[in-house]
């Protein structure tokens, strides 16, 4: 884990003091809401339907146990005993009082955390692969680069008032778990022919009302030019991005309007003109930051565990958990364990304070004190000894964190939707809950196999519906919730935007509609091994559309 140096600590502490003063002046009536709003947003504080909402940054989704315990403590002391882990690897508190937020930020600062740049038209929290540093086959650990980007982008004077928000994601493994192609800048760590580290650079991806898959602007960016090149991209965007229309202000629109070649030329020209030495990353500095992310010292262990094998033989639930929620660690004898925040019928991403404490305890005892948050809204223990798996599983199961559904149909991403969010047009959580209950985690769910359902409660697409294998978008039509379905989206290295099936479905029909899509897949698949996405890509939209609209009497078309 990165540890704050004196500069980091002083910077965060100073921001807490500033915000305390701003809140005091607001409460005393010395500044108006219009004057105050930009300040609170720059500190992650929104006003939502029921109350304020505080979005706390979890840089690249990495936490230690003390930080997780602090998140739990804050939820008990200042909120309602739970928090919501988001698709941006952050946590949101739904009920904080404005008058308490300076104290909350001070509590966060005590464990090297903050809510800076979790809102506003700036460079947001940098996201990454939740398995970083633990998964086998990584080109390199992406977290040092994410941390370097975090330091560079924090209160960057030139990029604090961009045309719109700006999101950067870094991935270090061949498989993209960080959804880099739907970010403003996506960085894929690669090695060139000479074996040197660098990045493939993708620009202009994004979801929202205009979903666009990022375009590759660079096949190889040397590691040392990471900040120079990002600076060049941001500078072009800052100058040329539209400020006349917030819906056309993201860099994806600039890419769309300017074209890839012209945007690339502008970025390369800016890059060439920069004083590249000023921001070049010296190898020693990269090594210093990487040192914070050195793999934990894990004792050698046998690759097999008799304890685990025996337990699998007599415990079907444990066996199912192992198959879905556990993946191999790069070091034999260890595994990466995903604690599911998707209990059947639960609200995706919500965790109680007690659950957070339990995960913190497990991390401390069994995972080298490390925890990760995934953009798919689950919690990860990245360094668990295989032999400890039964103990970890039992504790997770006792805390309702062991649903064996990671990557399965009930592992649904959902935004808070109209139950909490001031921007939402329809509810998301109840749709996720009903779908989860409908498909469950039994034999049928197992037969359906890997299938990502992603639900957004408005066009802003926080629930990533465009890149769901099955995406659901909640809208309001004449005062009634209506849900559109998209098929074939994906956020990985073969990213694609889902296609709309056709007219939407009423709240009463959406579960049945998804069931029809799933049953169509089961009848269309070439074999049980062919996943939903593979089948969709092979057969296309037509048979699904036919199943949905020509045989479904329940749709509201």
């Amino acid at each position: 884990m990165y540890r704050y140096d004196e500069f980091d600590a002083a910077f965060v502490a100073a921001r807490v003091d500033q915000f305390r003063d701003q809140v005091a002046r607001r409460l005393a009536g010395e500044i108006t809401e219009d004057e105050f709003r930009p300040h609170r947003l720059m500190n992650g504080l929104y006003l939502q339907l029921h109350a304020y909402m505080l979005r706390v940054a979890i840089p690249y989704g990495a936490l230690n146990s003390a930080q997780m315990r602090k998140l739990a403590d804050i939820s008990r002391a200042y909120d309602r005993g739970y928090g919501h882990f988001t698709t941006r690897q952050n946590i949101q508190y739904n009920w904080p009082a404005l008058k308490d937020t300076p104290d909350i930020l001070a509590e966060l600062a005590s464990v090297s955390m903050h809510a800076i740049q979790t809102s506003g038209n700036c460079i947001r929290n940098v996201t990454s692969d939740q398995f970083a540093g633990a998964i086998a086959g990584e080109v390199a650990d992406p977290r040092p680069y994410a941390e370097i980007l975090r330091q560079w982008s924090s209160q960057h004077p030139e990029f604090s008032f961009l045309p719109r928000k700006f999101k950067i994601a870094v991935n270090g493994a061949p498989h993209d778990r960080a959804a880099i192609r739907v970010h403003d800048i996506g960085l894929q760590v690669v090695r060139n022919e000479r074996g040197e580290l660098g990045f493939e650079v993708y620009v202009g991806g994004g979801l929202g009302r205009t979903p666009i898959i990022a375009k590759k602007v660079r096949d190889f960016l040397p590691e040392r030019d990471l900040l120079n090149y990002c600076e060049a991209v941001l500078r072009v965007y800052n100058l040329e991005g539209r400020r006349d229309n917030k819906y056309k202000a993201r860099i994806k629109i600039l890419l769309h309007e300017k074209g890839l070649e012209a945007l690339r030329a502008a970025v390369e020209a800016e890059f060439a003109a920069l004083d590249r030495e000023a921001l070049a990353l010296p190898a020693a500095e990269i090594a210093r930051i990487a040192g914070f992310f050195a793999p934990p010292e894990l004792p050698q262990r046998p690759a097999e565990s008799a304890r685990v094998t025996q337990r699998r033989g007599r415990d079907a639930r444990f066996d199912a958990f192992l198959r879905t929620n556990v993946v191999a660690h790069k070091q034999p004898g260890y595994v990466i364990v995903t604690a599911s925040l998707k209990p059947i019928g639960g609200a995706p991403g919500d965790a109680s304070a007690d659950q957070m404490d339990a995960v913190a305890d497990l991390a401390e005892s069994y995972s080298s004190d490390e925890i990760r948050v995934s953009h798919e809204q689950n919690l990860i223990l990245p360094h668990v000894a295989l032999d400890d798996l039964p103990a970890v599983y039992d504790r997770l199961a006792a805390m309702e964190l062991a649903t064996a559904n990671v990557g399965a149909i009930s592992d649904i991403i959902a935004c808070p939707g109209l139950d909490y969010c001031a921007l939402a047009t329809a509810r998301s959580i109840p749709v996720a809950q009903r779908l989860s209950q409908h498909f469950g985690e039994g034999a049928r769910a197992g037969d359906i196999g890997p299938l990502k359902i992603k639900i957004s409660g408005c066009i802003n697409a926080c629930g990533h519906h465009h890149v769901g294998h099955i995406g659901i978008l909640g809208l309001e039509r004449s005062g009634v919730e209506t849900y559109q379905i998209t098929l074939g989206g994906s956020a990985d290295e073969k990213a694609s935007v889902g296609q709309l099936t056709g007219p939407g479905f009423g709240a009463e029909d959406i579960v049945d509609a998804v069931d029809i899509v799933v049953e169509a897949y089961r009848s269309l698949r070439a074999s049980k091994e062919e996943t939903f996405l593979e089948t969709y890509r092979r057969v296309g939209m037509a048979p699904f559309k036919e199943a949905l609209y020509e045989r479904n009497a329940g749709s509201d078309i």
Binding site: L27, A51, W95, A347, E508, V511
Partner: protein
């Protein structure tokens, strides 16, 4: 159309409703039902004054309707706002007896 004036309290963000005395209440039941344009205009004026006095933020008028014999916000958004999250009946006004007597449907079942 019947209506009510609502806002969020500045200090803690809690949803409040303007009562007949021009004060803000956390309880939907205590909100003044505004039956005509004159009452609406007067209430909005009062609300704006309290906004300037930094008691609340973002005051506005919401439409009400009668459902199942009970007065409740017409729009789903406002019904949820006056009640609490529909997936957590233990949270928000619905947990405190301050929500409209008819809550937005919990499930999406018809």
């Amino acid at each position: 159309m019947d209506g009510m004036v609502t806002a969020n309290r500045l200090s803690d963000g809690v949803v409040v409703f303007l009562d007949a005395a021009g004060a803000w209440s956390e309880d939907f039941h205590r909100g003044a039902v505004l039956a005509d344009e004159a009452a609406k205009a007067a209430a909005l004026q009062t609300a704006a004054a309290t906004e300037r006095a930094n008691l609340v933020v973002g005051s506005y008028w919401i439409a009400l309707e009668t459902r199942g014999g009970h007065l409740a916000p017409k729009e789903l958004r406002e019904a949820i706002r006056a009640s609490g999250p529909t997936n957590r009946r233990d949270l928000g006004k619905q947990a405190l007896g301050q929500a409209p007597d008819v809550l937005p449907r919990a499930s999406l079942e018809s």
